[in-house]
């Protein structure tokens, strides 16, 4: 009986110690690389973010404490694609999200009450076709009969359709496989697929891993670029206009820092995006980083809406007025010279 009692006490103590250790680690401040600031008297903002280099200004603002200076405690909720980040916003799991334009188009066509408040990155060369030479792919038409991967519901899917159309590749003769960017790189290395079409940095990583001499790369900046945007729900914007202005203000300060401190900025973006500086630099060199609202966005949104309706990716019958889903009010107060929409 005494032995049983001792054993029970020992087990109970062990459980208490384990719980204590767990509580310590759970409440321990900050993820790796994040600077610790005093977050009292701040407003918490849940940010659904794809931590790609596209989100450079956000990473710089976070690292340098610009959000906190504005009284915002921005908490990252990372996702592997902008589409998933947008889904988190739509599902009420985030206050603000980063997203490319195609997921925004599809969400608007699905009558989602979202609002784009700024574009933070734009690129015409961000999406590339990476194909294996040993699959017999040397020109675009060689993609017929091959297995190609892209992401579903995002810019690469739109680019893929436009690419196939432009180069007269019969879509019915292409096997389309939808994977995440990381899975695509692995699948290409293992020769499970013959090519993939996706945004950076996956193409650069594939080139590094497989070798440029073994790959055929197609780049066509005339087809489509991609915009990277800050998106909120309309009702959140109505109740939190001050928060959004402060968020954008922090990004504008980050933009100024980036212009004056390219090396430090590169290091920050590499750290947050999880890539080495060389790869990050290759990606950033193809991108225009800045807080803007211009007609590039509306042009893409309309083209994508037409594509989605034509391919029955939406039940919508007509192209909506996207101006109802772009709110320039906040950026006009923070950086009016770059609101040209």
């Amino acid at each position: 009986m005494k032995n049983n009692h001792k054993r029970l006490v020992g087990i109970a103590l062990g459980i208490i110690i384990l719980i204590g250790i767990s509580i310590f680690f759970i409440t321990k401040d900050t993820p790796t690389g994040h600077v610790i600031y005093d977050t009292t008297n701040t407003k918490t903002v849940q940010l659904a973010i794809n931590t790609l280099p596209n989100s450079a200004l956000i990473h710089i603002a976070q690292e340098n404490g610009y959000f906190l200076e504005q009284g915002l405690d921005v908490q990252y909720k990372p996702f592997v694609t902008g589409k998933l980040a947008l889904d988190a916003l739509l599902g009420g799991g985030a206050d603000i999200a980063t997203s490319a334009d195609v997921p925004i188009t599809l969400a608007v066509l699905a009558n989602q009450e979202i609002s784009v408040v700024a574009t933070v990155e734009y690129s015409r060369d961000n999406i590339r076709v990476i194909a294996r030479k040993d699959s017999g792919i040397n020109k675009p038409l060689d993609l017929e009969g091959k297995k190609i991967s892209t992401t579903k519901g995002g810019g690469p899917m739109f680019y893929t359709d436009k690419f196939l159309e432009k180069y007269n590749i019969d879509k019915s003769k292409v096997s389309m496989v939808y994977l995440t960017p990381n899975e695509m790189v692995t699948a290409l290395i293992k020769k499970d697929i013959d090519a993939f079409i996706v945004f950076e940095p996956a193409p650069s990583i594939a080139i590094k891993e497989i070798g440029i001499d073994k790959l055929t790369i197609f780049e066509d900046s005339d087809i489509y670029g991609e915009t990277w945007n800050i998106v909120v729900m309309k009702d959140y914007a109505d109740k939190n206009s001050d928060t959004i202005k402060k968020f954008l203000k922090a990004l504008v300060i980050a933009e100024e820092f980036m212009e004056k401190n390219p090396k430090e900025s590169l290091a920050i973006v590499a750290k947050y995006s999880g890539n080495d500086e060389l790869t990050t630099n290759q990606v950033l060199s193809k991108q225009k980083i800045g807080v803007v609202l211009n007609d590039v966005l509306t042009t893409y949104l309309k083209e994508e809406a037409l594509w989605a309706i034509k391919n029955k990716l939406s039940t919508a019958q007509y192209i909506p007025d996207f101006n109802e889903h772009i709110n320039k009010e906040y950026l006009l107060e923070v950086k009016p010279k770059d609101v040209t929409i």
């Binding site: 969400a107 989602q112 096997s175 496989v177 994977l179």
Partner: protein, 250 residues
């Protein structure tokens, strides 16, 4: 009795459809995110690939389940009958069965690639454990008197395994397989995210990404209906192979 069951089943289905339609009509819901039954039905006509998707998914499910269940029966008899196997292999299976199949999706992708092996492998893995534990319990729980009689009559080992062990645990095999296939159904969507380009699970995932919720719900209903058919098939198999057992009423 069967007519009554069908009547109650159809009545319930009809009631659910009516409530669904009324809810969508009465409340101010987004029709794209919350389509009505009629919209879901009309979306079926918009889905010519539905038949090929069903066939491809069923082939994957059947092959994966056959592999999983066959291995489960073999190992279940082994671990249930041989004490050393129970203590070694049995403990290992007991450890592995707590790993959620969904946690293994990235591993299956890395190890087996995006072809059919990874999908069928994941389905086989999922159907294996519920079947194994049922067979193992069935074999282990065989009444001792049968074992003693077999021993005293010095029957051949193969006859003993076939006529006593296997037949004695048939009910456990069928019921375990029924649960195993049910689990495999629940993992089908995840399995078909491993680089599929057709299939019910794949289509559900794709349609969600483009907010075609009407077609997505249609596919989900199809998945449920096929699952029900499979379940009824197993019930029939159970009655056929074990006529001496009373099937519990649902």
């Amino acid at each position: 009795m069967q007519k009554t069951t069908i009547f109650y089943g159809l009545s319930t289905l009809f009631m659910v459809l009516i409530i669904w339609q009324i809810s969508v009509s009465l409340f101010d819901v987004n029709p794209i995110l919350f389509p009505s039954p009629l919209e879901v039905l009309s979306a079926f006509y918009d889905s010519p690939e539905i038949y090929s998707d069903i066939i491809i998914s069923m082939i994957r499910l059947v092959i994966g389940s056959i592999i999983g269940i066959s291995l489960a029966v073999f190992f279940g008899v082994l671990t249930g009958h041989i004490s050393v196997m129970d203590k070694t292999l049995g403990n290992m299976w007991n450890f592995l069965r707590f790993i959620p199949p969904l946690a293994l999706v990235p591993l299956f992708l890395l190890w087996l690639g995006i072809g059919e092996f990874s999908k069928i492998g994941l389905l086989a893995w999922t159907s294996f454990f519920p079947t194994w534990i049922s067979v193992h319990a069935g074999v282990k729980g065989l009444e001792n008197k049968y074992l003693l009689v077999a021993k005293s009559l010095s029957v051949k080992k193969t006859w003993f395994l076939k006529e006593i062990v296997f037949k004695g645990s048939t009910n456990y095999i069928v019921n375990g397989a029924r649960v195993g296939v049910g689990f495999a159904f629940s993992v089908l969507v995840a399995a078909e995210m491993l680089g599929a380009f057709a299939g019910v699970g794949y289509r559900i995932s794709f349609l969600q990404s483009v907010y075609r919720i009407d077609r997505m719900i249609g596919y989900i209903i199809i998945l449920g209906a096929i699952g029900l058919i499979f379940d009824r098939l197993f019930m029939g198999l159970s009655k056929h192979f074990t006529p001496w057992k009373n099937e519990p009423k649902n």
